[in-house]
Point group: C2
Chain length 89, copies 2
């Protein structure tokens, strides 16, 4: 797998995680703490700089209260974005 595709995969995950964190009104430090990560490590995940492990992906999904599949499936992603937006109103 070439480096560009790797970067894209990591970036998409990071952007989705960030989107949900912001919708929940949480700070990076809060998510990092509930996952047991350093804030800098968590930040680099959002920036797409990390090849996150399966278990850490689950930790983040639990902290954000979203199913893991919404990081990987577009329909699920948009469904949960909408759900969150509704809850904000």
């Amino acid at each position: 797998m070439d480096i560009e595709l790797r970067n894209d995969i990591q970036k998409v995950l990071g952007e989705r995680i960030k989107k949900f964190r912001l919708l929940k009104g949480l700070r990076q430090t809060e998510i990092a703490k509930s996952c047991g990560f350093y804030k800098s490590g968590y930040n680099s995940i959002e920036l797409g700089l990390r090849n996150v492990s399966l278990i850490n992906i689950y930790k983040i999904a639990f902290a954000l209260d979203v199913p893991v599949s919404c990081f990987f499936n577009d329909d699920e992603f948009y469904k949960f974005l909408e759900l969150y937006n509704e809850n904000q109103k």
Copy 2:
């Protein structure tokens, strides 16, 4: 996250990967080779003994020709199982 939950998460992923590999009639060595893994490393993923990385999850999905989300979403998993079964007939 407790160790039992971690093990369960890794086990579910491993079982789904194995299911698709068998449906495609592929051997572990073949998938391992196309992913650039050692056969023993790939085997331990199927056994749920590895905390696989994001990029390696994608490599496996590409090798099996399934979307990554079918490892994490039950509906997607069964949908693709059925698709594969149909193709076998």
